[in-house]
Symmetry: C2
């Protein structure tokens, strides 16, 4: 279960070439550290000349390495930011331990999501134990409109953000969204099935700062076939309890940004 919204579709206006460059860079991951030029052309859907030009630009910036046989990898230029981002966006040991405890109890993938503009991004993840499991990528923007974690995060936003989100998406209406978000906020958790992706379910609860603000969402997700009526009560209990524990312990260094 992998959802990959491409970077360029996430940009409203903005500088298209930057989005395209990020889109190319996003095609490299732990499973695909090296890509052939033809793969990059096929996966981006961009003309070959455009991809070649993007790769040359990224290579000159140290962000792509040309291996010389029409295959490419992420360049050493990333090193300067990964150390920085890793330390800035670090989720503390205590919070991670609570996440791991949740996996021990329920076996499904656990993520901490934060809001970034009109997106949500997982900043920490512990993967589930089953073969068929939820896999989202840490650091990749996903829609703020759909999924349990999104609904929890929306409980912490201003009316202005809700309006911007509705303006961006033709499938949303302000009044019902506002009502749903308020109800979820009152309930203290959200359960969604197939809202973001067919066959995927999730349970999420808010992580709050000392001043009561919703700063993140703790989410447990997996195949709908395992998020059954007889299990969901236990999942909701476990996720809300863990989110409360993390709220008390603090999220760690990353909190200065939230």
């Amino acid at each position: 279960m992998v959802e990959t919204g491409t970077a360029s579709t996430r940009v409203d206006g903005g500088v298209r070439s930057i989005a395209r460059a990020v889109e190319v860079l996003e095609l490299f991951d732990v499973a695909h550290p090296i890509r052939q030029l033809r793969e990059l052309v096929a996966l981006t859907g961009l003309p070959k000349t455009t991809v070649v030009r993007l790769l040359a630009t990224l290579e000159s910036l140290g962000l792509i390495v040309d291996r010389g046989d029409s295959s490419y990898g992420p360049g050493p230029g990333f090193l300067r930011w990964v150390k920085l981002a890793d330390s800035l966006w670090e989720v503390g040991a205590e919070a991670r331990q609570i996440m791991s405890g949740l996996i021990d109890d329920c076996g499904e993938t656990v993520n901490v999501y934060i809001r970034q503009g009109l997106n949500r991004i997982a900043i920490a993840q512990v993967e589930g134990t089953a073969t068929v499991r939820s896999v989202v990528e840490v650091g990749v923007p996903y829609p703020l409109a759909t999924g349990a974690a999104a609904k929890i995060l929306l409980g912490g936003v201003s009316e202005e953000v809700l309006r911007d989100l509705v303006a961006q998406r033709s499938d949303l209406q302000l009044k019902p969204l506002r009502r749903e978000v308020a109800s979820i906020r009152e309930a203290g958790y959200a359960v969604t099935h197939g809202e973001r992706e067919l066959g995927a379910s999730a349970v999420a609860a808010p992580i709050v700062a000392a001043d009561g603000r919703v700063i993140a969402a703790l989410s447990m997700s997996g195949p709908t076939s395992r998020f059954t009526a007889d299990r969901v009560g236990r999942y909701v209990d476990a996720v809300t309890a863990a989110a409360r524990e993390i709220s008390n312990a603090g999220l760690g260094p990353v909190e200065v940004f939230l």
Copy 2:
């Protein structure tokens, strides 16, 4: 001693907006994890409207976080590359230990540089012990034409790369450069003073693969005032010995790219 060639001056043709975006991102480092908008405008020399547009684009891609008070930081979007870049560009424990030994002996900053196109990039660093010490940034492209590490790396390139480099820089001529590079290759080390930056000196030696190719340069650098005649012999001995040791031990996982 920090040299910061800006990203956009390193792009020949290419997509300028990508280079500008990288230039903005490069302004964030461990010493400056947060930057004010006015700093970003001043440091890039770009119009404020351009910087604001770049920041908005980068924010929508998760690469910049807007802290809401006209201050910005690197976004959580970098997290997706952390595991990848770290594992791909990893210099092995044995090589790092040899680098640390060099610091114990001489006290000056040690870097491993690799060539990327017409640039060189430090992929590993151990900082020196003195207050005034050489600081280059890991992952940032520096010129391939100047400095001891550059001259060592040029000993491993094809005639074509030399020609491209000369074509790019009006201050270089092919014949003298070729002669210098061949001499340095024969000597097995390079010593430079103020070549890349006034007041900065360096000693470098080649790290070679099992097949004899120059894959990296081991460099020790610091203020010219400490790279004196009575010390340089010891420095050259120490750096060439350590480079030989690293060549025998191997650079670690990163070697597959070199």
